[in-house]
């Protein structure tokens, strides 16, 4: 700093002045624009839910067709159990989606309360994935694999089915573990929110 340069004010005040002196680009939306934006947002949310419903519909159609053309009771029952699992998930998504449509003023909660609620919601979601997303498919898939194994005529076919079954199991365990880790991280974040400041 040269001798001619005037001394700077105290840093905290300087930081606030620096912050507030930023050039801004004001935004002002007309009532029509506001309504149009709000409707677009609602459509986007509905679109996201639609993708999840379509995936479930695909499972229902594929396994429903399998149940229709099944050669025996075990195969038909296994396919119907998978269809039931898909429908259960659709129902769960629908009720969860309804719960997510929070009133517009919920975003005006204090920052801490809002943040805590969001963390809790995410925690509840990931910690229950195995219960409401993985486990419902287990009985139907187990029955279908068991029935196919019972009909297997060659050791090679039996081995392939066992391999496929093991792969499905490992995938389910991996998904459950990942979500378990995420749930633990979220619990830590929730605890940190309520912890006294170390100062």
């Amino acid at each position: 700093m040269s001798p001619e340069t005037p001394p700077r004010p105290d840093p905290p005040g300087d930081l606030a002045s620096l912050w507030q002196s930023q050039p801004v680009e004001p935004l002002r939306l007309s009532p029509a624009e506001l309504r149009a934006h709000a409707q677009r947002l609602q459509r986007r949310i509905r679109g996201r839910n639609l993708g999840e419903y379509l995936a479930s519909l695909f499972v229902v159609v594929v396994f429903g067709a399998h149940a229709w053309g099944a050669e025996n009771l075990a195969s038909r029952l296994g396919a119907l159990l998978v269809v039931a699992a898909a429908l259960f998930i659709v129902h769960r998504l629908h009720t969860r989606g309804s719960a997510r449509r929070l009133p517009p003023d919920s975003v005006a909660e204090s920052c801490l309360a809002f943040h805590r609620r969001e963390l809790q919601r995410q925690h509840d979601l990931v910690s229950s994935v195995w219960r409401w997303y993985l486990a419902p498919f287990a009985p139907g898939m187990a029955l279908l694999l068991g029935e196919a194994a019972a009909r297997a005529r060659t050791p090679g076919r039996l081995l392939a089915l066992a391999g496929f079954g093991l792969l499905c199991l490992l995938l389910a365990v991996a998904v459950a573990k990942i979500n378990q880790l995420a749930a633990r991280q979220l619990r830590d974040e929730l605890r940190a929110l309520d912890a006294p400041d170390p100062g």
Partner: protein
Amino acid sequence: MTASVSRQDALYQEVVATYGPALDRLTRVYEADPERRRDLLQEVHVALWRSLAAFDERCSLRTWVYRVAQNVGASHVVSARRARPAAFVGLGTLDQLADEAAPEDVVAHRSALGRLLELVRQLHPIDRQVILLYLEGLDGAAIGEVTGLTAGHVTTKINRIKGALARRHREGERHEP
């Protein structure tokens, strides 16, 4: 147009006239990309307008506005981090970052404002919200009302963050040509 809708629109106009610049500044912390930041600012405005239908003076309009803006911004960061995970900086590490700022890093961010933005963006959500409100000129009590923190908690956080930001700011000035 019903009376309630016109009240909602009138409140929105009042909010934009009084807090428009603050809303613009806040979104710069929550989104660095200019185009996405513009979208976020629109999202904040729409959320504010929608929420004002239920504004019943349970708190001041200023508190309401800052809560909505900060909560929408924080939700935006959560969504963005799902796609691009990055670690937040705790207050303990923040002190270290300020002390260990490498000259080349500081020179690369010559703008003092750029350094400030960069550091604030790295803070944990609640710490970020506290310092943003401080930079907007709110006092400890007002910050506590917006964030839900106690006055003591707010003071502690502000002192620590201010100190680290000020040190980083001075480091940056020393390395400017």
